[in-house]
Symmetry: C2
Subunit: 296 residues, 2 copies
């Protein structure tokens, strides 16, 4: 969906068309910027503290001061969705190293960040969650600190383009013989014997907020998760495969490299995790995701 009309830039709320930055901004010259995408459902934010903690960690990792307190960030997010009358969708937030009249790799001793944020109305529980997505494998060419959520996203953008060109929706990135994660989501498999596996946290992958949300449901859902790297072959031969992300929540993967995963339909474990996750965020299952109640 197009970005909502009222955006936030450096303390002001203004029409998107009036939001303009300097081309000397370090976000534009050096990819020197952190970002977060926080889901909004029923007018409420999903795990805002998780996003703010990660933002804070990324900012520290890229030498940027955190320009606002947690309550300041919350107020900014809230005002964006109120001004745009957003009920379901996401808020995108980017914090950069700021703009200076000289292009210097090192930059000044202390940065004065640029803060940009917008809201985007979209269905979080939509067709992809219902029908599933298709993936292909691609080499993971990203930088080595993927645990920090920065705008160094060129590999991911190119991966999406290649995936699309090959008739898929996204790519599973492969490095040293193992799947790291998907182009903008964490990757999960369910083995034929029912073991749920997702890669362990390390600098190789982003510590997904939705990934953490699913982990938090283990007790209630009565399931266990093995955290380890898995191979492309394990994914191809899995009973079920799914991804987690703030923008698409829990998305079944029905096809890999053109071949069906299991019977080519979202499986029972994926459906169970979707149900648990949607319930936890306050969704009316019967109304918005009746399909998640099948195969229970």
């Amino acid at each position: 969906m197009p970005v909502c009309q009222i955006v936030h830039l450096n303390g002001s709320f203004l029409p998107l068309a009036e939001a303009r930055i300097s081309p000397l901004d370090r976000g534009f010259l050096f990819a020197h910027a952190a970002y977060e995408v926080t889901a909004v459902y029923g007018g409420r934010f999903i795990d805002m503290p998780g996003h703010l903690t990660r933002l804070s960690r990324t900012l520290a990792g890229i030498a940027l001061p955190d320009p606002l307190s947690p309550s300041g960030w919350e107020a900014l997010h809230k005002e964006l969705i109120v001004r745009n009358d957003l009920n379901e969708g996401i808020v995108y937030l980017e914090v950069t190293g700021g703009a200076y009249d000289v292009r210097d790799f090192a930059g000044p001793e202390t940065f004065v960040p640029t803060v940009f944020a917008y809201a985007d109305s979209r269905k979080l529980i939509g067709a992809e969650a219902r029908d599933g997505i298709k993936v292909v494998f691609l080499d993971d060419t990203r930088w080595k600190r993927r645990d920090m959520k920065t705008v160094q996203l060129l590999s991911q953008g190119l991966a999406y383009r290649t995936a699309k060109a090959r008739g898929a929706d996204t790519a599973f990135m492969v490095e040293d013989g193992f799947v790291t994660e998907a182009a903008s989501s964490n990757a999960w498999i369910v083995t034929p014997s029912g073991e749920i596996i997702t890669r362990h946290l390390s600098p190789a992958i982003l510590p997904g907020i939705t990934r953490a949300g699913v982990m938090a449901l283990r007790g209630k859902g009565g399931f266990a998760v093995t955290e380890r790297a898995f191979t492309p072959d394990e994914a191809v031969n899995a009973a079920e495969v799914f991804t987690t992300s703030s923008g698409a929540m829990v998305a079944p993967v029905t096809h890999i490299e053109g071949r069906p995963v299991g019977d080519g339909k979202p499986g029972p474990v994926t459906r169970q995790i979707q149900r648990l996750y949607y319930e936890a965020m306050g969704a009316d299952l019967a109304a918005v995701a009746p399909w998640a109640m099948e195969r229970a």
Copy 2:
């Protein structure tokens, strides 16, 4: 030096303060942009064809159309230095995936690039060339396609900051036990037996235009270059070390990790290569680099 006052943005020449881009530009959201930095000396560009060829290759590699012909790019560069009365310095050019009203990793079928360029007045043959620079070793955390010159420069920016904090000027990036290159220049060593070594071209490093310029001087200078990866130990124990880049040309490295290289002063091979390079670009050696004539 601060950026010159008249810049180029999407076909217009305008004051820097009026140059403004959308925060939805893919250069800002995804680091989806190519760039070049071309040296200007005596009002002329140094190896413009080399820069334009590399730009064209980077653009193709990141799925962007090349918005101008070589003569169009040359005219743009020339107008920038004329309007800013620039005699010595650099022109920075960035071409991004453009701005759209939706943040989509894959982007539209065909991109409409944003073109931004500015001139920057600076001494190309300055104190660093005369006195040398200090380097430290750092892990190379960059993405895997460093042969494409993109704005995914966060690792480099952080490397410069760390180097500065440790009393150095830049960093030699190390990967799998070998030096790849410096944070924004190619790295060279001269062994105690006089062999000149620089890393072979591959996706691990940028194919530097100044690197190519030095290679082109082999016949005239009567020297050979071995193209292979070298280790940090080889650099520490080298007789001489230097870097090449468009912005600093040929810069002697006098200290590594706080210890002197050789006798801690720019060595004779480095001085010879500086002389040859400066002469080739039309510099009056006696006037601008008398120090390069010592130790001949």
